[in-house]
Symmetry: C2
Subunit: 116 residues, 2 copies
DNA sequence: TATTCATTCAACCTTTTGGTTGAATAATAC
DNA sequence: GTATTATTCAACCAAAAGGTTGAATGAATA
């Protein structure tokens, strides 16, 4: 029993795994059955199934049962929430650009890449 | 020893924790020392220090040492990457809106909220 | 009906995460 | 020079994450 895990927590956590981001990317092309979804992944079907459940838990994926087959499709709402949270900071980084000037910021940015 | 953990993995994972998102929000107002940053959090300074290191590891925070004090400031680049990845799917969700019509989509959306 | 197919459930394992406490380090202040 | 302050390091702990394998469930097929 969890104490108040927000939508945003779940969405960010779900998207933190590269396999799950690939799943999301894959589902933009349309609905897929679990088995078909799992095909290109170098892991067990069970592992993919668990990833799908995580995405479902975050509301990023919705499941439609048709006999023994489960069709998965993407849901946009949580992605929009993530986009909205993140874009709050657009104001922040644009301000910094304005303050220091594009040229200096560019240099700063280059320095940053180099030292990572 | 980690096998290829991407920038995006680190950024999403860093932002999945609500404390760390609060830290990010807090740092938009300007630089802060670790101690001052930690003030409003109901956890040990050490815990906050560890969160800061996670954010640093994801490139979201940069540290400037001045004597014994460490000043932390926000870095926008990884936030931009997250925004860029997420907004890839804007096309996807806009398409769905177009395809089904705003009214139906709205109803769908309402159903979705209700059953979460 | 017996078999195969699509999928989940359950148990297990290892690594990571998010927190704690206590000690170490290093700079400042008295 | 001793105490205090700012911060990390190290060890520990419980819970969660990401994978595995094997069994269970339930629908389709032969």
């Amino acid at each position: 029993m969890n104490i108040a895990v927000s939508n945003l927590d779940l969405a960010f956590a779900a998207l933190a795994d590269p396999t799950r981001r690939r799943i999301v990317a894959r589902l933009t092309r349309g609905e897929l059955r679990v088995t078909d979804l799992a095909l290109p992944f170098a892991m067990s079907l069970n592992a993919v199934s668990k990833h799908v459940k995580v995405l479902e838990g975050a509301g990023l994926v919705r499941r439609r049962r048709e006999g023994r087959e489960h069709y998965l499709r993407l849901r946009a709402a949580p992605l929009r929430e993530v986009a909205r949270w993140t874009s709050q900071y657009e104001r922040f980084w644009i301000q910094r650009l304005d303050a220091l000037g594009a040229f200096l910021e560019q240099q700063q940015e280059n320095d940053d890449e180099g030292s990572q």
